[in-house]
């Protein structure tokens, strides 16, 4: 019997059959996987046939809450979107904050599973316990902001929560995002999966309640948590600057990506630092639902060609990729490109990467104006950036090529461009120059989703010795495991301001009534991480895919604090497999490792699929 937090129900919607079912969630499953990412990993492994096309009706989209969503537990506004990625072919998970997912809980569901493909565009309307599929033909082609406003208007309620795709998702841009009021489930192309299913949006209005198992304990630790957050010396800085507070320190360490990860120094850095952004465009601090640390920055472009544009953002990653990585040092231009990415529904990280890659190809003469629809595609050109964002979102002309991502674009262009095609398993790198912080390089190489900073960032743990490979595998395994737990209870990474893992477990116990201690938690984390890996193994991924772009491995960084460094990947990787209990040659989890974390059935299935365990 579930005592609190969970609703115990999963909403399953088959768009092909127009079938809507409510399923019960097994309590044992929740104890083993917690919810969110863990639950998603289990469901997708069980439900997806191996090697299906990620953009076919056979793929599924899981939009999941954890036990804490809808409660007052600090830092829990996010949902997890799990699917097979059309960008990488791997397992993928994206997080989306804002004010969306609590209403799913209040409507009585822990998650939604979306399968099949609708005949024509539809949106899902969850009006508390009543769920219907609504025609979305008139919304097709609209941006995410327009879609949100039109759905609210036709329902006649401004408080309805909407998550939608833009033209990018409709046209299956491989890194299309799902957007809810400027917040994005951005990475891995979940928006393209949604578009391939002819699903334009999900609208929710929840009127019910979420219970807490141990109310007295909850109130007590809530009070403690708020004191702890207030006492955290870094909290005021983060409230003032949000994630952009990282720009200055990252650049100082040579970590900001510059001109397609070619160097560690950006001459225009002063203009894109947090202080400069706050002064020029920020007008208001914003929180996600139930979050006491308003890191969101509502911005308004006041001058220049984009004056009048408003958005929530840009954030650290976006400044890195649409900014310094494209050689852009104008915060208004970055903000405009960010706003366009949100409206068109494409990931700012992959977008910034693919444009920077194209800029380098252009500067090297591998492509010319004939390829770029006449655009002078040089680093630092804000006009080119904004034009290309639009073209990618609509898959127009050259944008159609870019919409395939760096890996496929590099294959198309050829000419040795794969040396500086900055992706792992097809997913573009995040805003961390791996040669300046090598543990983050190991994270990019091994992350189950392809390169992604949010699956166990080691940035803070590495600050003292960012270039040494020593001990990095151990730091990374711990961080990846922590994030498995955080993504499954669904705590935002900013919960580090005031809460440690023990504190997070206290909330989990008070809300659910389940007990989770150190040992059990470690096993759950290993189970989730190994299961995701098993999904990728079943798709054919091996050690050879756990790599970094040649530039990161072979080309010494020319300047900055890490001048001359490359990522010593092999030695970290060997240690990493040893710690994970995976075969060091194939990178496949051993039978013993799988059985130790309660995944015997997974070991049997991999064996059946003829993988040597």
């Amino acid at each position: 019997m579930l005592k609190g937090g969970y609703t115990g129900k999963l909403l399953r919607i088959d768009l092909s059959k127009k079938e809507i079912i409510t399923e019960s969630l097994d309590e044992k499953l929740l104890e083993k996987y917690l919810g969110g990412r863990g639950l998603g990993a289990r469901l997708i492994f069980e439900e997806l046939a191996p090697k299906i096309d990620a953009l076919s009706p056979e793929n599924k989209l899981y939009i999941l809450t954890g036990p804490l969503q809808g409660t007052l537990t600090p830092f829990t506004p996010k949902c997890v979107v799990v699917s097979k990625s059309p960008l990488t072919g791997t397992f993928t998970r994206a997080l989306c904050g804002g004010h969306f997912i609590q209403d799913l809980k209040y409507a009585g569901y822990d998650g939604i599973v979306i399968e099949g493909k609708a005949e024509k565009p539809v949106y899902i309307w969850i009006d508390d316990t009543k769920v219907t599929l609504k025609d979305a033909t008139h919304l097709w082609g609209k941006t995410t902001g327009q879609t949100e406003r039109m759905i609210k208007k036709e329902i006649g309620d401004d408080t309805v929560k909407v998550a939608s795709i833009g033209p990018g998702g409709e046209r299956c841009v491989r890194f299309a995002s799902i957007i809810s009021s400027s917040r994005a489930a951005a990475r891995g192309g979940c928006g393209a999966v949604m578009g391939s299913k002819n699903l334009k949006a999900i609208a929710i209005r929840g009127k019910g309640e979420v219970k807490v198992a141990n109310l007295d304990l909850f109130k007590k630790i809530l009070e403690e948590a708020y004191l702890s957050i207030k006492a955290d010396p870094a909290a005021p800085f983060r409230i003032k600057y949000g994630t952009t507070g990282t720009v200055a320190i990252a650049h100082k360490m040579g970590i900001m990506p510059v001109r397609n990860y070619s160097t560690g120094v950006f001459e225009g850095i002063e203009n894109i630092k947090a202080e400069s952004m706050r002064e020029r465009i920020v007008i208001h601090d914003e929180s996600c639902f139930a979050c006491p640390l308003p890191c969101g920055k509502l911005s308004l472009i006041r001058e220049g060609p984009y004056a009048g544009t408003s958005l929530e953002g840009p954030q650290y990653e976006t400044i890195g990729l649409l900014g310094s990585n494209c050689g852009i040092d104008n915060i208004e231009t970055i903000a405009k490109a960010n706003q366009l990415c949100n409206e068109l529904g494409i990931d700012t990280i992959s977008t910034g990467n693919v444009i920077a890659f194209a800029m380098e190809c252009y500067e090297r003469g591998l492509i010319t104006k004939e390829d770029t629809d006449g655009i002078e595609l040089k680093f630092g050109s804000g006009k080119a950036l904004v034009e290309l964002v639009k073209k990618i979102g609509k898959r127009e002309g050259f944008g159609d090529r870019l919409a395939e991502g760096v890996k496929r674009l590099s294959t198309h262009i050829g000419g040795g461009s794969d040396d500086f095609a900055m992706h792992v398993k097809g997913q573009e790198l995040a805003s961390f120059e791996p040669r300046s912080i090598v543990g983050m390089g190991l994270l990019f190489a091994t992350a189950n989703t392809g390169a992604n900073h949010s699956l166990g960032p080691t940035f803070r743990q590495e600050m003292e010795n960012p270039l040494s490979p020593q001990g990095k595998a151990e730091i990374l395994v711990a961080a990846q495991n922590d994030y498995c737990l955080m993504d499954s209870m669904i705590f935002c990474s900013f919960s580090r301001y005031g809460l440690d893992m023990k504190f997070r477990f206290k909330f989990f116990s008070a809300v659910t009534g389940f007990n989770i201690g150190g040992v059990a938690a470690a096993e759950i984390a290993n189970r989730i991480y190994t299961l995701e890996r098993a999904f990728n193994v079943r798709e054919g991924f091996t050690r050879s895919d756990d790599s970094l772009p040649p530039r990161s491995l072979n080309e010494p960084i020319p300047e900055g604090p890490s001048k001359g460094n490359v990522v010593p990947l092999k030695e970290m990787l060997d240690e990493y497999y040893r710690l994970r209990g995976w075969d060091s040659e194939s990178g496949i989890p051993t039978r013993k490792t799988l059985e130790d974390v309660g995944l015997k059935d997974v070991a049997d299935e991999l064996k059946e699929q003829r993988y040597n365990l």
Binding site: L215, H284, P292
Partner: protein
Amino acid sequence: MSKAKIVIHAEKCCGCRICELICSLTHTGVFNLSKARIRVCIQRTPSNKKISPFLIDVPVVCEECNPAPCMEICPVEAFSRDPQTDAVLIDEDECTGCGLCIEECPEGILRLDLDRNIAIKCDLCSGSPECVKYCPTSALDFKI
């Protein structure tokens, strides 16, 4: 003049809705936003250059009017005033859920608890409002 009230500084509100959640938890023991006595109206799509931070996230709570239209219209005299804070209170046993007070409220903040069919409103938590205590940006202030 009423003695105590919650003062709102809308320009500081970050729209987290923590006030609504703690209110619901305090009064009902669960998280249910439709039972919160305070509400935050969120309007984050400014479309022109003149957007004011006072109008983005706006908390709304009982103004503790005096005289109070809700109290005056009530046909069963379910309303009284807290002797400590002078807050307008509703006697849940007396309230019939007729809804007249809700129609009369100039703030539009009184609402019906649909499960119990009674009107609900802020009671200032007997002089120590939880929403003020948990507001992370001091957008809510308690003035006595």
